[in-house]
Subunit: 155 residues, 2 copies
DNA sequence: AACACGAGACGTCCCCAGACGTCCCAAGTC
DNA sequence: GACTTGGGACGTCTGGGGACGTCTCGTGTT
C-alpha cells in the first residue's frame, strides 16, 4: 500500500488526513484487531512525511480509543481480545498458572530453559527474563547444574 | 579512564564526539591493535550515554575500517595481525593440523577432553564444541567410555 | 505571532543469537 | 574404582536490531 503516492500530502493538518486514512483502514478491517499497525518509521515512509507527523496522527487515534501503543511493540488495534503482552510476561504467566493450579507442586523441578524456549518459541534470554521474574517473586529457586525448583507455598 | 567525567557530553552529535575520542585512543595505542575495546555496556557507562549512542559511534569507526566487530567477542581494533578466532576454532584447528601433519594417524586415539582442556586452558564445553565440529567433518569418531579416534583418511 | 511540519539526535525497552564458563548425573570401559 | 565420553542443567558475558518516547532545532504556512 501507499495511500498517497505522488502527492506528498501537503496542506493544512496533514496529520489529520493521515489519521483519517488509518481510521478508515482500521474500520475496513485492513488492519485486523489485535494486530499492530506498521511501525512509525514505515508509516512515515509510506505517507512521505516526517515521523513526528505520523506520531501526531497516531496520537489522534489513540485519543479516540482506536489503538493502544505499547513501547517496543508498536501501535496495536484495539479489539475484543485483550492487548497482547510481552513475551516474557506470557511465559511468566504460564508458569505462574501451572504452579497455582498445582501442576507444579512445591519442590518439583520446572521445565528447563531449553524446553521453555521450545514451548514458547522464544530466545533463551527472554525465557530467563521470565524465570528471573518468578525468582524475584520468591516463587522459584535455581540450583547450578541441576535446575529450577518450585518453592514451598509462601503465601 | 573516563574521558568525560562530570560533563555528560551534551550537544550536537554526541556519537560523533565519542567516535572522535575512541579514534584518538586507538591512534595513541591506548587500545592495542588486535585487542578488543571495552564492551558496549561499559562504554555506555563510561561516557554516560545510552548503548544506542555508543553503537552509533562504533558504527562510524567500523565504517572507517578502524575496527571489526565480532559477535560475542566485541569490537576489536584492526591491526597487522589477523582478527583472533574463537577458542573452539583454535582448538579444532590445532587438532586438524596434528592430523594432517601425521602426528595423529588413522586409528590413533585423540587426547582426552581433560587433557585438551588443560592444553588450551578452556572449559570442557568449549573443547567438546571443537571436537563435535571435527566429528561432523568426519575426521574423527567417538566411542563411549573409550575415547575419540582418528578416522581413516577420507579425502 | 501561532501553528503545522520536517528532520534529526538521543533515550529506553524488548527481543534475538551466540560463546564460554560452571556444575551435576549418568553410562560405558578397563 | 578410576578412567573415558554423553548429555543436560544454569550463569554470565558479548554483539545485533527493532520498536516507541522525548526533545530540540529549523522552516513554512496561516
Amino acid at each position: 500500500m501507499e495511500p498517497q503516492n505522488g502527492r506528498p500530502l501537503t496542506g493544512w493538518r496533514v496529520y489529520a488526513q493521515i489519521a483519517d486514512v488509518l481510521r478508515e483502514q482500521i474500520a475496513s478491517g485492513h488492519f485486523p484487531a489485535g494486530g499492530a499497525l506498521p511501525s512509525e518509521l514505515a508509516l512515515s515512509g509510506q505517507f512521505r512525511v516526517a515521523r513526528t507527523t505520523v506520531r501526531r496522527a497516531l496520537a489522534v487515534l489513540r485519543d479516540e480509543g482506536l489503538i493502544v501503543t505499547i513501547r517496543s511493540k508498536g501501535h496495536v488495534v484495539k479489539g475484543g481480545i485483550e492487548t497482547l503482552a510481552y513475551r516474557h510476561e506470557v511465559i511468566a504467566d504460564d508458569l505462574r498458572a501451572q504452579i497455582h493450579r498445582g501442576e507444579l507442586t512445591a519442590g518439583a523441578m520446572l521445565p528447563s530453559e531449553a524446553s521453555l524456549r521450545q514451548r514458547h518459541s522464544a530466545s533463551r534470554t527472554t525465557v530467563r527474563h521470565a524465570l528471573s521474574a518468578l525468582e524475584r517473586e520468591g516463587l522459584i529457586v535455581s540450583e547450578q547444574g541441576k535446575g529450577r525448583f518450585v518453592c514451598p507455598a509462601t503465601g
